[in-house]
Amino acid sequence: MTRPLVRPPRKNPILRTRLPTLPPAARSRVALGLTAAAARGRFELQVCRDCGTVQYPPREACRACLSPRLDWRVQDGNGELVAETTLRHSHELFFRERMPWRLGLVKLDSGPLVVAHLHGDCAAAPTRVRVRAHLDRAGQAALVALPDKDTPHMADDRELRELTCDPKFRKVLVTDAKAPLGQALVEALVDAGVDLVWAGEAEPWKKPPGFERIKALPQVAVVPLDLTDSRAVKQLAGEIGGRVDILINNADHHRNFGIAARDGIETARAEMDVNYFGLLRLAQEFAPAMRARGADGQSSAVAWVNVLSVFALSNFPPHGTYSASKAAALSLAQCLRAELAPTGVRIVNVFPGPIDDEWNQTLPPPKIAPARLAADIVAALRGGAEDVFPGNVAQDWLERWRDNPKALERELAAMPQP
């Protein structure tokens, strides 16, 4: 049984903050297929189109028939733990610092034998397990075997926590806590057992419904934060930056215009100022402190969430300038991910479809509710993915985009202007 996590003791200030180390990160290009799927929260293996063999580890050709015609297919991960070992020595710094480390050999029902990190609640071999692909601190796919059925506090497992960004007992900054999504995020984080939520508030003279209730929650501290104000971002980073374990950037400026539907660039510039430059300002001021705290004990700096939009992948012309700003933010988030890669801090990009709010009022359903999106973001932090497409619309658009980006471009262009 996993021992439930307890609130960590206060940090001993005379000890040097441990620097982050990473598990081995080198992968062949073909092995990155496993990572690409894990990045979206999926466990995929190569399946031979000619003979149907499921294979692991990934290779250029089928190990059974040498066919190069291999497809990445989702696996259910069910299998049997056939052997286990506990690592007590390693030349890898990352594992040396985390000994002992439990590893297992799992025979998947689909055929291949895989090596996986072993959750503490898995019984001794032989036993049934579920294998999942999570990203590790190096951002590469790692397989983890979970017990056949959920166990109490299983998210608190020491090895599993090295693959997740669980907000429990962590301190979280929500950059815009006033918007409907921000309010829902604060509530979901409080329910997830966070230590503290810094609730960012811009333009304090605007009082949206519901915000007073959010402000009154005992875990919430309202902080002034307007992402268009460089000095304010710097000021807040100076005050709390060294304590932020998870940063959720949900600040968003959304107006529904294309090019022809609005004179001038003022609206588009405002979208860029929040959605793109806002992320850049945050990254310049908050990333340095988080970079230094990637291994700072149980509640280390662990994740940076960007709420983007599925429109970042392909322009939705009725919301054309907004789509462009989100595409810019996506590109910058990739830069931030590369710069934070050595620290183990995960950049989680969230690509919702239209949110059910005032700026999508005239779009037909389905639209994702703020509370549902907030729950999906918290679930993503507890999982092992870095690219999250919450809701059916986002999933549908993602699949269409992956299948044929040009076709999706044409389909989006043909959608009626609301």
Binding site: W205, S230, R231
Partner: protein
């Protein structure tokens, strides 16, 4: 220098017999901007980005780039700002005759009324009562509405917005028309974020101070401060907007020349207190 009007003015300034009072709010990112429905075009707040600060970006110097609306902070409204003034000659910041930037000021103390009623509307009746005490408002004067609104240093209290909009004092329609048609004023100035009251959208016409003042070639000053340091009459304003081509307005530094022989009650009060803040606000020469 020979004895001229200007040399005497300089001597009065040097001798402290004419004081300079700064009526300007500091341009700061924290200062609130006017609130419009979010689907409309918006006035930018003041924002500032560092270009260099004795560092790799510029080793020996410090400077910033800033951005804001023509209507951010303490600012001037030109007649072209409003649709009623759009066809007037010389109606923008670059074409207004520069001599209009120096003018006498009448200060109407509405601080008592505004304290008890944030929606207080200045009326003709109020103006006539004021004139009985201080004399007729001279043509070409600025009329400044003192409400002590600038003392609301908390932006939330300054904006004073609820579900029905903003609640700040301003003039009613008849008072505006009286000041223009009967008194020929230069313009109207206020401490709140607009020359019109917060609820002036519901007056007839909407925003009467903007509509009539700018429609008749008059000006506006908004977000003024330190009006409590001015006498009811006798001060002179220097209020020159930036020379923006076809500008509808401009942030500006507004200063007042105040003869020391004409202390406002508040000036006497401040002088007695000798508080550090009021000394900082009132530069003595």
């Amino acid at each position: 220098m020979s004895d001229t009007v200007l040399s005497r003015l300089l001597a009065e300034l040097a001798g402290g017999r004419i004081r300079i009072v700064d009526l300007t709010q500091t341009l700061s990112p924290d200062f609130p901007q006017i609130v419009l429905p979010p689907e409309m075009g918006q006035a930018w707040p003041f924002r500032i980005e560092e270009a260099s600060r004795y560092d790799a970006r510029g080793p020996g110097w410090y400077w910033n780039n800033f951005s804001c609306s023509e209507h951010t902070g303490t600012h001037f409204d030109a007649p072209i700002h409003w649709i009623s003034g759009r066809h007037l000659p010389d109606n923008s910041t670059d074409t207004i005759a520069a001599e209009k930037f120096v003018a006498p000021a009448c200060v109407l103390d509405c601080s008592h009324e505004a304290a008890s009623d944030p929606d207080f509307l200045l009326s003709v009746d109020f103006l006539r009562k004021w004139e009985r005490r201080h004399g007729r408002i001279a043509a070409g004067s600025w009329v400044l509405m003192r409400t002590d609104w600038s003392k609301r240093t908390d932006p939330v209290a300054y904006q004073n917005i609820d579900e029905t909009g903003q609640h700040t004092p301003g003039p009613n329609t008849d008072a505006v028309r009286f000041l223009i048609e009967e008194r020929g004023v230069l313009g109207f100035g206020s401490e709140a974020i607009g020359t019109d009251a917060g609820q002036a959208f519901h007056l007839k016409p909407p925003y009467p101070c903007h509509y009539y003042m700018h429609g008749s070639g008059r000006f506006g000053l908004q977000c003024l401060t330190n009006l409590d340091l001015l006498p009811p009459v006798g001060s002179v304003l220097i209020a020159a907007p930036l020379k923006i081509k076809e500008g509808s307005g401009s942030p500006l530094r507004v200063i007042a020349l105040v003869p020391q022989s004409m202390p406002a009650p508040a000036v006497a009060r401040v002088a007695r207190k000798k508080s550090k803040t009021s000394r900082a606000r009132t530069r003595r020469r």
